[in-house]
């Protein structure tokens, strides 16, 4: 019989420490839906998603019941729509609405892949898609968009960086009545992964199979509670070892659920994303983990080092627990979704600049950051350029999901609701990067991209 202490450890993690599977994400290729007529394309897309994904929610719920582990989200990612709809005449927003309808029909909260990959330049489909993003996000509920503007191999497409600043501003204006919520569904990437199960940046990459199951795990609360028990006298070797062991256990849950979902749906398993993804629930916070390591507040000097240790230990512990690892894999620091981060911002401990430094050593980038509504588009673009540079030079994924909340200024409260959380508007540097951004062109790929 299994050790009773181990049984109760698992139950305690689930019932008291917010251990859950954050998402089962079903990736679906829409490449075979391409059609010259936009309305026909939309019908083909809707039919394919609702057919392939028809059992996703039911299967996820059955696994939840039988294993007793919550699976918070069941989601779908699709082929970047810029490619799928490129040959169709008409308005791209129709596709966004078809995706939204399909998501509603299936009972899933987000569908990702209203996306374009433009790290080296635009095709006509990319231009049409990016131009349509503000209206698409403001007039749908569940559609998520992403644009990849840089890769280590290609460098940074600064025209796209400049463009995305304007797109974000427009999306914010079109959803001004709802705290500019459209921007919470838009990610600007460097080195975007093709198998990421997490929203808003998930899309079904062009190297992916017809359909695939990717799973994202969670569990900041479990790591936090384990560290609390360890106490302040433990040295960093002990801290790292404890996080590794905890990450292993968390990831094993992800692997089990991924394997089971794959078997039941008859869809191949892709990857487990080894992530610590916080939620607004108190205690389910990456910031609290960093503070449990001995920092008075997340954002204090030492935060970057603490996050580097955490991120590395999560990967080392998780990698042996899963047969295939991918996606973003690392600790997430989405400010509005992490109550500890929000508290740190309120206390004046955590600034945009510190967050930027933190993104050098963890997964993703400046995530879910609300800034004043009057932040100029070129400043948003400059923030994106800085993040992209970090990703490109360090050969890692970085992203920006920033919300210039219309009508609000630094220090004001903001509320997006649900998993997106809320918080406080962070100030941005007032000095201009306008001339820099308006140069346009491409920042060349770094020398270490030449690895052949």
């Amino acid at each position: 019989m299994i050790n009773p202490y181990e049984i109760f450890e698992t139950i305690n993690m689930i019932s008291h420490e917010n251990l859950d599977i954050r998402t089962i994400t079903l990736g679906i290729s829409l490449r075979d839906c391409a059609h010259p007529d936009m309305d026909t394309l939309c019908t083909l897309i809707y039919d394919k998603i609702t057919t392939v994904g028809g059992n996703l929610v039911r299967t996820g719920e059955a696994i939840e019941r039988e294993y007793g582990i919550p699976i918070i989200n069941k989601r779908i990612s699709v082929t970047p729509i810029a490619m799928v709809a490129e040959s169709s005449e008409g308005d791209f927003v129709k596709v966004a609405r078809a995706l939204d309808r399909a998501a509603k029909e299936l009972g899933i909260n987000f569908i990702g892949g209203y996306s374009a990959l433009v790290h080296k330049g635009y095709t006509t489909g990319d231009t049409r898609l990016i131009e349509s993003i503000p209206e698409a996000l403001a007039t749908t509920e569940r559609v998520c968009a992403s644009v990849n503007v840089a890769t280590t191999k290609a460098g940074i497409n600064m025209d796209a960086v400049a463009h995305m600043g304007r797109v974000i501003k427009k999306a914010a204006a079109l959803s001004a009545d709802r705290d500019s919520i459209a921007c919470t569904k838009l990610v600007v990437f460097a080195n975007a992964p093709e198998d990421n199960p997490f929203m808003a940046g998930a899309f079904h990459g062009i190297g992916e199979p017809e359909s695939v199951i990717n799973v994202g795990v969670s569990g900041p609360g479990v790591v936090y509670n384990a560290l609390k028990k360890l106490g302040p006298d433990a040295d960093f070797s002990e801290v790292a070892e404890l996080i590794k062991k905890t990450a292993f256990k968390i990831t094993r849950m992800g692997q089990l659920v991924a394997t089971e979902a794959s078997k039941r749906l008859g869809i191949p398993f892709g990857v487990v994303d080894l992530s610590l993804a916080p939620t607004p629930v108190v205690g389910d916070s990456v910031a609290l983990i960093l503070e449990a390591m001995g920092l008075e507040r997340c954002g204090a000097h030492g935060t970057t080092a603490a996050l580097a240790l955490l991120n590395d230990a999560v990967k080392k512990g998780g990698v042996m627990a899963s047969s295939h690892v991918g996606g973003l894999s690392g600790a997430f620091i989405p400010v509005s979704e992490d109550s500890g981060m929000v508290d740190a911002v309120r206390a004046g401990a955590l600034s945009l600049e510190k967050l930027e430094a933190m993104t050098c050593v963890c997964s993703v980038g400046l995530d879910m950051i609300a800034v004043p509504g009057d932040t100029p588009d070129y400043t948003l673009s400059a923030i994106i350029a800085d993040e992209a540079a970090i990703g490109v030079v360090n050969n890692k994924t970085t992203a920006v999901r920033i919300i210039p909340v219309c009508g609000k200024k630094a220090g004001d409260a903001v509320e997006f609701g649900g998993l997106l959380g809320g918080g406080v508007i962070m100030p941005v540097n007032k000095f201009s990067g306008q001339v820099f951004i308006e140069r346009g062109g491409r920042i060349p790929a770094p020398i270490h991209s030449l690895r052949n």
């Binding site: 181990e6 049984i7 019941r65 094993r252």
Partner: protein
């Protein structure tokens, strides 16, 4: 398929009888049973075989959960693989 039933709460008369009656009624075989007190709470773990169960997992789970409510305890039933996968390599 084997499942683990866990009971956590305050000790009282009739816990094992109540749970066992539901299992017998559902044709679920008890393979192993252990009980102990952890952090002042009564805890019982049963390993059961549900492959010949005459009701589906969801119904078994809700019957046990209802019995738990009646006795003032938390009763869960979970596929044993969740514990195995987390604690065994």
């Amino acid at each position: 398929m084997r499942a683990v039933i866990t009971v956590i709460g305050t000790d009282r008369v009739g816990i094992i009888a109540g749970v066992s009656a539901i299992l017998a009624d559902a044709n679920v075989n008890i393979l192993d049973i252990t009980q102990t007190t952890m952090q002042g709470l009564f805890t019982m773990i049963m390993l059961v075989d549900i492959s010949k169960s005459n009701i589906d997992f969801e119904h078994l789970s809700s019957r046990l959960s209802a019995k738990g409510d009646e006795l003032g305890l938390k009763i869960r039933v979970q596929h044993e693989d969740i514990f195995k996968s987390m604690h065994e390599i």
